[in-house]
């Protein structure tokens, strides 16, 4: 499914609610721009709607429906999450727009001035301090707790989806609930398993994962994120390796203890991260308050 990111000028014409439109990035089936509303700078999301060349082709029809449903579900979920650790919706409600012959659903989120953990990792440099890692842990656990109350599992917590801000009240923000799963609701994904292989909880490989999926999958991917950010290396995946190898490692390989790469960190912090990386969900401590007491920031 490929598309061409529209020129900012074309976007601005299609969406007059936002001015000063500038391109930021493109990924997968989404293009992101900045723009200013009457009150603030916002992040404009354009989600590509794949065309249906022939209504008789069921696959194309289903794919289009899935994309639309997924966007609406993400927006609905975001609208219910009030904690500061999750990205907020902007002033532009979702609408379908046609730009340069391509169809999109456009909506906006708050504009966040910062870098994702993925960008920071690629830049290299000093490893984060214990205090920063604890703050990151606390932010992600708070987000998970909020989502848990709404019976929602993010499923895609990873360094590219966590942004670091200079704001001490909102030091880390969780982004992109594009494949978030609401327990009990109809599955939206008809083609394959929704996941990023490198950051996949092992139970996602089970054919019946939807029946048993819960927030402990997010605890696993949180631990993966913190391990990679803290150690500046992925605990399990190799670089540039075949995706089947990555999946196999996720299911079978026991990662080296975090303490091996960060001997400066306290043992109980490292042990907590290691325990959350267990393959079986029942072996990951599920009590969020207890987790915060052990590995979070001091209150």
């Amino acid at each position: 499914m490929s598309f061409t990111s529209p020129q900012p000028a074309a976007v601005a014409r299609a969406i007059p609610e936002l001015g000063n439109v500038a391109f930021i990035q493109k990924g997968g089936f989404k293009a992101v721009y900045s723009g200013t509303s009457t009150t603030a700078k916002e992040a404009l999301k354009l989600v590509y709607i794949p065309p249906v060349s022939n209504p008789e082709i069921e696959e194309e029809v289903l794919l289009q429906q899935e994309v639309k449903s997924r966007v609406m579900r993400e927006i609905n979920i975001l609208s219910t999450l009030k904690c500061p650790e999750v990205v907020k919706l902007g002033s532009l409600p979702p609408k379908e727009v046609r730009i340069d012959g391509q169809d999109f659903i456009a909506y906006s989120e708050e504009f966040l001035e910062g870098k994702t953990l993925w960008d920071i990792l690629r830049e290299g440099g000093k490893k984060p301090t214990e205090a920063e890692l604890r703050t990151l842990f606390t932010s992600l656990i708070n987000a998970i707790e909020e989502m848990r109350k709404k019976k929602t599992v993010h499923r895609d917590i990873k360094p590219p989806n966590v942004m670091k801000l200079a704001n001490p009240k909102r030091p880390f923000i969780l982004l992109d609930l594009g494949i978030a799963f609401v327990i009990g609701e109809t599955a939206l994904t008809n083609a394959g398993f929704p996941r990023t292989n490198r950051y996949m909880a092992p139970e996602m490989i089970q054919p019946n994962f939807r029946e048993s999926l819960d927030y402990r999958s997010d605890l696993y991917t949180t631990a993966l994120t913190i391990y990679e950010y803290g150690a500046q290396r992925h605990p399990i995946a190799g670089n540039l390796e075949d995706s089947m190898v990555t999946i196999s490692r996720a299911v079978h390989e026991i990662p080296a203890p975090l303490y091996k790469h960060r001997p400066d960190l306290p043992t109980n912090f490292c042990d907590t991260i290691d325990q959350l990386l267990k393959k079986k969900p029942s072996l990951r401590p599920a009590n969020l308050k207890a987790l915060l007491a052990k590995a979070g920031s001091p209150p």
Partner: protein, 403 residues
């Protein structure tokens, strides 16, 4: 790790003396074997004299399906003493959640009137599979227990009975999925009273096999990681093994049917003679007969525990103890083993346990080399399954035992 007395028939003064000797930390009472009036008296007396001693009642609701049998042996459980909560039931009745809630309410209200230190909520036995109707019923008991307990407005902890037959532990995938469910409850109890059932308390091999033991260890480990307290009923010599995985307490008593959990206790009697008094050797991780002890203790002093209760096996009496005192030696030995195996973390505990298994093997080999033939139950058959159980558990718990 704590050790509790598993109460049963012919209790006499055993519990009082066990407490006085400081070799037990609590008691799990068996309604089958004590009238309500005596139970209430015992609990109050214990609370007043030794308030720090844990006082628990096993509701034994799992015997409700056996209650309809003509030859069932329910003791006081089948009389009016416990009629407030214990009645014959059918599985079909308990498929209704409302019935489960009624049983929970009645049992917990019953316990509230007594001087227990914590409540044990009832449950049925899961006999064949963790993916069965009985398992669903058992999970309903677990899910609803806290809500009913909260209505009592008590500060006492709540342990929920989880009784699983060893046959139901064979399927590893089912066990994994069962654990995944019970470790993320909306309204969790404080902990669990775990029972692993054999078909007969006389057949040690049913429990002392690698698959059963490793599953029992995994149950404790997963529950403990998730903050639950675990009390293991009828755990006897396996108490330190479970303690190595994080268990809070184990229990054992003075008869074989108080050392292995079996529904046979509530069924027709098979008769049998009094067993030969035995000595629980820490080094051998097993019980040997008193005459075996007498024969070995001079040449192999390492089979002795060097604990206070060794005095009960006087060489002047051919090392034969008084029958009603054998349990004190067991309790002291197990309590001491708990102290040796239960370290700060699971990995170190398992390594300590593995070391003890090696030493036990060496001692058995040394005994064999001098040509001394031990009784069938005294031999080293238990060592291989326990070793394998440690290996299987470490694998299931994703713990690397080697560097």
């Amino acid at each position: 790790m704590k050790l509790f007395a598993q109460h049963g028939a012919q209790c006499g003064q055993k519990i009082d003396e066990g407490i006085d000797r400081k070799i037990i930390d609590g008691v799990v009472y068996s309604p089958r074997d004590i009238s309500y009036k005596n139970l209430a008296t015992e609990l109050k007396k214990l609370k007043d004299s030794q308030p720090e001693i844990e006082r628990l009642i096993d509701p034994q609701f799992y015997a409700c399906f056996a209650a309809t049998g003509a030859e069932s042996r329910l003791g006081f459980l089948g009389k009016d003493d416990y009629i407030d909560y214990f009645k014959p039931r059918t599985r079909r009745e308990l498929e209704r959640e409302a019935s489960v809630i009624e049983v929970l309410r009645d049992s917990l209200c019953f316990q509230k009137k007594l001087e227990v230190s914590a409540h044990i909520a009832p449950n049925i036995l899961i006999p064949r599979s963790l993916d069965s109707i009985e398992a669903v019923i058992a999970k309903n008991f677990i899910r609803n227990a806290s809500e009913e307990h909260a209505k009592l407005k008590t500060k006492r902890r709540l342990l929920v009975t989880l009784a699983i037959a060893r046959d139901a532990l064979i399927d590893k995938q089912e066990l994994t999925e069962f654990l995944n469910e019970i470790t993320v409850l909306d309204n969790p109890p404080t902990g669990f009273y775990l029972l692993i059932g054999a078909t007969s308390s006389e057949v040690r091999g049913e429990i002392c096999n690698a698959d059963t033991l490793s599953a029992w260890m995994l149950l404790n480990h997963a529950l403990k990681i998730n903050g639950f307290e675990t009390v293991n009923g009828y755990s006897d010599i396996f108490t330190p093994l479970l303690g190595a995985t994080g268990a809070d307490a184990g229990c054992t008593g003075w008869f074989s049917n108080l050392r292995t959990f079996s529904m046979g206790r509530f069924g027709p009697s098979n008769g049998g003679r009094l067993p030969i008094p035995r000595y629980l050797s820490k080094r051998l991780l097993n019980r040997i007969t008193f005459s075996e002890l007498d024969a070995l203790r001079t040449r192999f002093p390492q089979v002795l525990n060097e604990l206070n209760t060794d005095e009960l096996y006087d060489t002047n009496a051919g090392s034969e103890p008084k029958r009603n005192q054998e349990v004190f030696q067991s309790w002291e030995a197990i309590k001491n083993l708990n102290g040796e195996f239960v370290k700060g973390n699971v990995r170190d505990s398992l390594i300590a346990l593995s070391g003890a298994l090696d030493k036990a093997g060496e001692t058995y080999s040394a005994i064999s080399r001098v040509g001394y033939a031990l009784d069938t139950k005294s031999g080293d058959d238990h060592l291989a399954p326990i070793s394998e159980a440690v290996r299987l558990f470490a694998c299931a718990a994703e713990i690397k035992l080697t560097a």
